[in-house]
């Protein structure tokens, strides 16, 4: 048995009385694709924080690529191979798109000179923003920013890619393009953990779906089974997941009460 790429072992985090992660254990193997769904405030982004090193856990252990990384900061974990995107893209605004990627390739990827330029160019190409290479990042629109965010994570040469709502606020064709990019990355052996409200973006890519609510996993398995799980359905009552479950397009009226029907379509601020 080889040890998994990423392992969470009883990870716990609280902010005061708010439980962010309650004894979370999770194993993700090399090349795996895992989707994470859950209502707002379930602790999804915080889970990424715990994995990427933005947040220090209150208890438990995080292991990556065979070593314990609980005490390492985000930069060190990135250099080990954990790449992450933010839900709201955070490009280095007054730098060009290419410079953004160069920093990631040189620091996170540990690449030098030529190799770093090649890697940055590859990430640019892969994310489909080659045309914007020399544009200051602050001038990009939302879609391009999301792509840059993805490209910057890719430029760090990750073996585990954490995607935080990269599809939010995008149109269907845009989401489809993004799905293709992520698939391509995964096909080369990079494991992907993907948080997404837009479940239809997730299902074609992930082979495993986890539902997180109030800092706990309530479902974990292949997507169809998890979405059919009554406990998961209860969490998502009336939201897009139920619609996806019912087999309809997300735009179709949801099976449940209409209140949360617009769930995943809000654009981020």
């Amino acid at each position: 048995m080889t040890s998994p790429l990423l392992e969470l072992d009883g990870v716990t985090k609280r902010f005061g009385r708010v439980v962010i992660a309650e004894d979370l254990s999770l194993a993700v193997g090399t090349g795996d694709t895992v989707g994470i769904v859950g209502p707002n405030g379930a602790g999804k982004t915080s889970l990424f924080g715990l994995i990427s090193g933005d947040l220090a856990p209150g208890g438990g252990e995080v292991r990556f690529a065979g070593r314990t990384v609980t005490k390492l900061d985000a930069a060190a974990r990135c250099r080990l191979g954990i790449g992450r995107t933010y839900q709201v893209p955070r490009p280095f605004g007054d730098m060009t798109v290419f410079e953004n990627l160069l920093v990631a390739a040189q620091q996170g990827g540990g690449l030098r000179r030529r190799a770093s330029y090649t890697a940055a160019a590859a990430a640019l190409e892969r994310a489909g923003i080659s045309g914007q290479a020399n544009v200051p990042a602050e001038r990009l629109g939302l879609l391009q920013r999301k792509r840059l965010e993805l490209a910057r994570a890719l430029a760090t040469q990750p073996t585990l890619l954490l995607l935080d709502e990269v599809a939010g606020g995008l149109t269907d064709p845009e989401v489809a393009q993004l799905v293709e990019i992520v698939r391509g990355v995964n096909a080369e052996g990079t494991a992907v953990i993907w948080i997404e409200h837009v479940v239809r973006a997730l299902t074609p890519v992930v082979s495993r779906l986890i539902c997180l609510t109030s800092g706990k996993f309530v479902g974990d398995g292949d997507p169809a089974t998890v979405l059919a799980d009554p406990a998961v359905r209860e969490v998502f009552l009336g939201s897009e997941v139920t619609a996806a479950l019912a087999g309809g397009a997300p735009e179709a009226p949801a099976a449940g009460p209409p209140d949360g029907a617009a769930g995943g379509e809000r654009s981020e601020p």
Binding site: D54, D73, A75, R79, G83, N100, V103, A104, Q106, Q107
Partner: protein, 291 residues
């Protein structure tokens, strides 16, 4: 003609003030640290230069080659230790800590070197001599050289920040520390590098001032820090060229003030400083406020 002379002298002194200011501006721009010990560190650099020159008897100008790297190293170490641990608590703590550092340095200097003023390289032709333009304008070589050094330093910093690997890294970390970490950048190390650069310019400023005028233990706060502040505020925070413009405006204001009445020299500079604070708080060149 006296007015023309005042303006020329003011512009040239502005180069010195820009040297005072660029380290302060850099540290604020990158780590949001207002280093209240900035001026005292410049004075320390001056005293170290005096010590090095006295002990090793090397030519005065060679002392730059020793003191600048030593101060840069000190900058890296101070940043990674005292300043970083203050930063980890809050930005406000860095104010208190650097203020404390300032007090300690100043009193330490008083203790060891007394309150006597000291000058650097008074026997150098560069420091003593001047040339005449026309009959009334007399320009010291030293001020011209300092101005040129300031321009070269600012150009160099500008180039370093825009085109070098570490420069890009500094900009990335200054922009978004967390995002930079997720791009794999160890921001503490980058902060250290930025501090080393800043302290290197501080050393240049301190020795230059020691040659231009005289150093006393209190010069750091009562002259260098205050003029650096004024230049940064007038020019606009975080802009290197703004720093030069700020220095020049401050220098010209002082010289014009002195022209009106010799005792108004320093006051005139602060009046302009105050006017800019009130009328254009983002400084003359800053464009950051729109975004």
């Amino acid at each position: 003609m006296a007015w023309v002379n005042a303006i020329i002298q003011g512009v040239l002194t502005g180069g010195l003030y820009a040297l005072f200011a660029c380290g302060l501006s850099l540290m604020f721009g990158v780590m949001k640290v207002v280093n209240l010990a900035h001026g005292d560190l410049a004075v320390v650099a001056g005293y170290v230069a005096i010590g090095v020159i006295t002990v090793t008897r090397i030519p005065v100008l060679w002392s730059f080659l020793i003191v600048v790297p030593v101060m840069a190293l000190l900058g890296y170490v101070l940043q990674r230790t005292i300043i970083q641990s203050a930063l980890d608590r809050s930005v406000l703590t860095t104010l208190i800590v650097t203020f404390g550092l300032s007090v300690v340095i100043e009193n330490g200097l008083l203790q060891f070197f007394t309150a006597n003023s000291r000058a650097i390289g008074t026997d150098l032709a560069l420091v003593r001599d001047s040339f005449k333009v026309g009959s009334q304008i007399q320009i010291g070589y030293l001020l011209v050289v300092i101005f040129a050094v300031a321009v070269v330093v600012l150009l160099g910093l500008q180039y370093f920040l825009s085109a070098s690997k570490y420069g890009r890294l500094i900009r990335a970390v200054a922009d978004d520390r967390e995002a930079a970490q997720l791009a794999g950048a160890d921001y503490r190390h980058v902060f250290g590098i930025a501090a080393a650069l800043a302290f290197g310019t501080v050393a240049l400023a301190g020795i230059s001032y020691g040659m231009y005028s005289q150093l006393q233990p209190t010069t750091g706060t009562d002259t260098i820090l205050l003029f650096a502040f004024a230049a940064v505020v007038i020019g606009g925070l975080g802009s290197l060229w703004g720093t030069l413009l700020g220095g020049v405006v401050l220098g010209v204001a002082q010289q014009i003030g002195a022209q009106i009445n010799i005792s108004d020299e320093v006051l005139a500079g602060y009046i302009v400083f105050l006017a800019v604070l009130v009328l254009r708080p983002q400084g003359l060149t800053s464009r950051r406020t729109q975004s």
